[in-house]
Symmetry: C2
Subunit: 211 residues, 2 copies
DNA sequence: CCGGATCCGGGTTGATACTG
DNA sequence: CAGTATCAACCCGGATCCGG
């Protein structure tokens, strides 16, 4: 394995996760939890299969990913982050935050997948009225759903629909991102095809422009 | 320029700074401020000169680095981070923090440079008694000095000697890192060749094991 | 379908030499 | 000092194939 051979935290981190595709693989596993090989391929459009296989081997031997033989009904191998792998989340969130402003002028031909919304929402959603009751919001994009859960001041975001949603927001992923970032007022949101159902006041706790 | 073509903050960030050596160049500029080309080469042992030149061009066109023609007495071009470039600091600190635990078992043959201490110290030094008076500490490693400045609860770390130091710590970079991380007790520190001069109580505000 | 392995063309990297 | 030029070795991406 190639190394920078520098006695520096950043350099040793990059020795392990600085290769092309590596951090994006960790991103997928952070968002989705346990993944099959083909789930990873779908979430990483453009990756060559040999690279995915090789990166997974490297990540496994670095103790960042663990391979797990799932029993039926799954009956296949699952890839999962170890504790050490999950510890990369703050670094990945910061990098994503830095890159977010460039996202506006969408690179032409860029792929978009709804579940990529999870990380940005994790960073910039804050409960503006934390003392109110617990609530949950469903975000629908394409055929995927995200759950936003407000509980005692904390905002949790995860893949999958909430058990029971106080409000539902539907739209295209790019537009949803702008919407939750507060860049769309009411008129712009509905013009962008964003539909809101249910309790608007719950939504207003995290998106000022809804109020 | 190669791109992941994914509409995701992390992916676009890596499009710009995910290439080999790129984040390490940013690290150098974060620590040292304006740099000459050869300063960068010294701080990045192992980089090929053509790669350094190419990365600097890419960083410049991405708006992360600015080239500046310095007047005499410097009379050469300086490379400096833009505002956008300095905004990478949180991400770099988090990545360095993640990599730090691996630093303990030093990769054999790894280069060590004193100024690389600046980033780790920036993260994990905290003033444990913030209400006391302002103070400053000089850290000497080889022929380079760092300044640690305590001011109203904040800890600032930068390259260069402080104007006037209340205490001075001298040693090898690797050992100094362990020392400031609190992994060395008094005996271990002096056995490791770490020398402390001046006001020990000032040092104890940031390093518990000195007390 | 799932989880890869293999092969190949082209692009990137790294070491060295050289230049204004 | 601040790079460019050259070239070999390696890595990446795409396509194809293969055993469960």
């Amino acid at each position: 394995m190639r190394s920078y051979k520098q006695h520096c935290g950043l350099a040793t981190a990059l020795d392990l996760v600085g290769d092309r595709w590596t951090l994006l693989i960790v991103r997928e596993l952070l968002i989705r939890g346990g993944c099959r090989y083909t789930d990873l391929q779908k979430g990483l459009p453009g990756i060559a299969t040999n690279l995915l296989a090789e990166r997974l081997r490297e990540l496994e031997s670095a103790g960042i990913v663990a391979r797990e033989e799932a029993p039926p009904p799954v009956a296949t191998t699952l890839f999962r982050l170890t504790e050490r792998g999950r510890a990369l989340e703050p670094a990945i969130l910061q990098l994503g935050l830095w890159g977010a402003p460039l996202l506006a002028r969408g690179a032409k031909g860029a792929a978009t997948q709804p579940h990529w919304l999870v990380l940005p929402l994790k960073i910039f959603l804050k409960d503006r009225t934390p003392r109110e009751r617990d609530a949950s919001i469903e975000v629908r994009a394409g055929r995927e759903s995200l759950a936003i859960e407000l509980s005692s001041g904390a905002v949790k975001v995860r893949l999958g629909a909430p058990e029971q949603a106080d409000a539902t927001v539907t739209g295209k992923p790019e537009k949803l991102l702008e919407f939750f970032a507060g860049k769309l007022d009411k008129a712009a949101a509905s013009a962008a095809g964003i539909a809101i159902e249910g309790a608007r006041d719950v939504l207003a706790r995290i998106v000022p422009s809804v109020a």
